[in-house]
């Protein structure tokens, strides 16, 4: 599902985000990406979501070579990759319902179908009663769950999360991780960047450790 072949990313500033990364995630696999800040976790996720493009090597997602993807195809690629951010990236002038509906509206889905899917997503993250509320009146954990609902509402085959529990207390963090494990159980490929090693070690999933833009350790390398 996700494959990196000798991928390097050098920013315009000269900073090398990634240098020579090889990585392969099977369809339906769940993996954690760890490492110090600046190790390249975010860069790696950005390359998958095409927020950045690789300067060397090739990135494959869902059997497509992202290097060869034209600019006008990028939106369609992003519809197949749900992204979850530490800062949630919600629209604060829209209700929870409208925030979650956004990927479906963008894809041109009809109203009835949108309502059905948004309610299903809200149900999954346990926020069914908060659909008419504005994000600002929600707690941090709830806002993150709105962000997760938005990422999964269009049923993308790939979910990426960049420090999804960064601002949450341990109990909420565990709830979020449990949600991810549930999604993985229904076949979604997940890649979650986090520095909370303690939290993820108990889940028994593959852990990829980055250091200075390279894969330093991979508990499931080619396994």
């Amino acid at each position: 599902m996700i494959r990196f072949d000798n991928v390097a990313k050098r920013y315009a500033t000269g900073h090398e985000g990634l240098s020579g990364v090889d990585l392969h995630l099977e369809t339906g696999e769940m993996a954690f990406l760890t490492g110090h800040s600046g190790a390249g976790k975010s860069t790696l996720l950005k390359l998958i979501g095409l927020l950045e493009r690789a300067t060397r090597g090739q990135v494959w997602v869902n059997e497509r070579n992202l290097n060869k993807l034209r600019a006008r195809d990028v939106p369609y690629h992003r519809r197949e990759v749900g992204m979850i951010f530490q800062d949630h990236r919600l629209l604060h002038d829209r209700t929870v319902f409208d925030n979650i509906a956004l990927p479906l509206v963008v894809a041109g889905m009809g109203h009835a179908e949108v309502t059905r899917r948004v309610r299903a997503a809200l149900d999954k993250v346990g926020l069914l009663k908060k659909d008419k509320v504005f994000p600002i009146s929600l707690s941090g954990g709830e806002q993150q769950r709105v962000g997760i609902a938005r990422a999964l509402v269009s049923k993308p085959p790939v979910l990426l999360a960049d420090e999804p529990t960064g601002n949450l207390d341990p109990e909420l963090s565990r709830e979020i991780m449990d949600l991810f494990v549930q999604f993985n159980q229904v076949g979604v490929t997940l890649l979650v960047a986090t520095h909370d090693v303690e939290l993820i070690s108990r889940l028994g999933k593959r852990i990829i450790k980055l250091r200075d833009g390279r894969v330093a350790a991979d508990s499931g390398a080619d396994g």
């Binding site: 494959r3 950005k46 979501g49 927020l51 494959w60 869902n62 059997e63 497509r64 070579n65 060869k68 993807l69 006008r72 195809d73 939106p75 369609y76 690629h77 992003r78 519809r79 992204m83 990236r89 919600l90 629209l91 956004l102 990927p103 963008v106 894809a107 041109g108 009809g110 938005r150 269009s154």
Partner: protein
């Protein structure tokens, strides 16, 4: 994973019905957004309205003046001053000859004595005339050209032909001032055109700037829409509709302004025309002014929005 020369394509929504439906929803949503800040929307639309109303109104005015002058043009008459030696009988024959010409609608003879009577009555120099021992006024044949003789040039040619009659000393067309008026309206019309182009540019800039500010205000929204897979067309659409609505609102305001101006001018113009024994009254909107506003307004709005969107939307990229 096998490497393929051709990548698997993406599914795109190409159903025209849903496409139209999304457009309708988007246009209404844009209108709704504008209506949520009515004061600033109306202010922008009013600026556009005034910018549209100015050239349209001026064009209408020039058009009216032109019509007025052309109606004078058509009714221009030629005065044929007969030679002193021509007797009253000969004058009557000349009148008949002239009247038979196909390009003459009517020829009226004012004999020397009739001319004298009229002069006495109207000039106020009646008593001075009594002192003269003979009538100094020539006989005149007033010629009204047939409707086929339309423009000033044709009337001029006709006068030159009439000048060839032996009995006619002078054939005089008093059209110069009509020609001058025509030249003036021509110049003003050109000025209106220049003004229209300048103001169209102003409308482009106004809408462009408004949309640019809107893009800045909704920066994070655009970013998030791009993150969840919104195409450029999808992101562009609300701003384009916004430009279109601004243009349409501006056109409606311009139309109201011009119609109000017409209504206010109608009375005074009719009074003025009455003083000149004319039944002239201001025309209602001509098609050029009307289309200039109703098509030009929205088109300029759309174009202005397009310029702003094209320049600024690409700069917004999610991180």
């Amino acid at each position: 994973m096998a490497r393929r020369a051709r990548q698997p394509g993406f599914r795109r929504n190409r159903n025209p019905v849903t496409w139209l439906l999304r457009h309708a929803q988007m246009s209404l949503a844009s209108l709704g957004r504008l209506s949520r800040s009515p004061v600033s929307t109306l202010m922008t639309a009013a600026v556009i309205g005034i910018a549209l109303a100015l050239p349209s109104g001026l064009h209408l005015l020039v058009d009216n003046v032109r019509q007025l002058s052309s109606s004078w043009d058509g009714s221009a008459s030629i005065s044929l001053f007969l030679a002193d030696a021509v007797s009253d009988e000969q004058a009557a024959t000349v009148r008949e000859q002239v009247a038979r010409r196909p390009d003459v609608a009517e020829a009226q003879l004012i004999s020397r004595s009739a001319a004298l009577d009229e002069f006495r009555r109207l000039s106020g120099f009646g008593q001075a005339i009594e002192l003269l021992d003979h009538n100094p006024l020539p006989a005149v044949v007033l010629v009204r050209p047939a409707p086929t003789v339309q423009d000033a040039d044709a009337v001029g040619r006709m006068a030159a032909e009439l000048q060839n009659y032996r009995e006619i000393e002078l054939a005089q067309v008093d059209l110069q001032w009509v020609e001058r008026l025509g030249a003036i309206t021509g110049a003003i019309e050109r000025a209106v055109l220049i003004l229209a182009v300048l103001l169209a540019g102003a409308v482009l800039l106004i809408v462009g700037n408004t949309v640019r500010l809107e893009i800045q205000n909704r920066h994070s929204e655009i970013e998030i829409v791009k993150l969840v897979g919104g195409t450029d067309a999808f992101i562009r659409r609300p701003f384009l509709y916004e430009g279109l609505w601004y243009g349409l609102l501006g056109a409606a305001i311009a139309l109201t302004l011009v119609l109000t101006a017409l209504y206010l001018l109608d009375g005074p113009v009719e009074r003025l025309a009455g003083l000149y024994q004319s039944t002239f009254s201001l025309d209602v909107l001509d098609p050029i002014s009307l289309f200039g506003m109703l098509i030009g307004g929205p088109a300029l709005g759309l174009a202005g929005a397009w310029l702003a969107v094209g320049r600024h939307l690409a700069q917004v990229q999610p991180e």
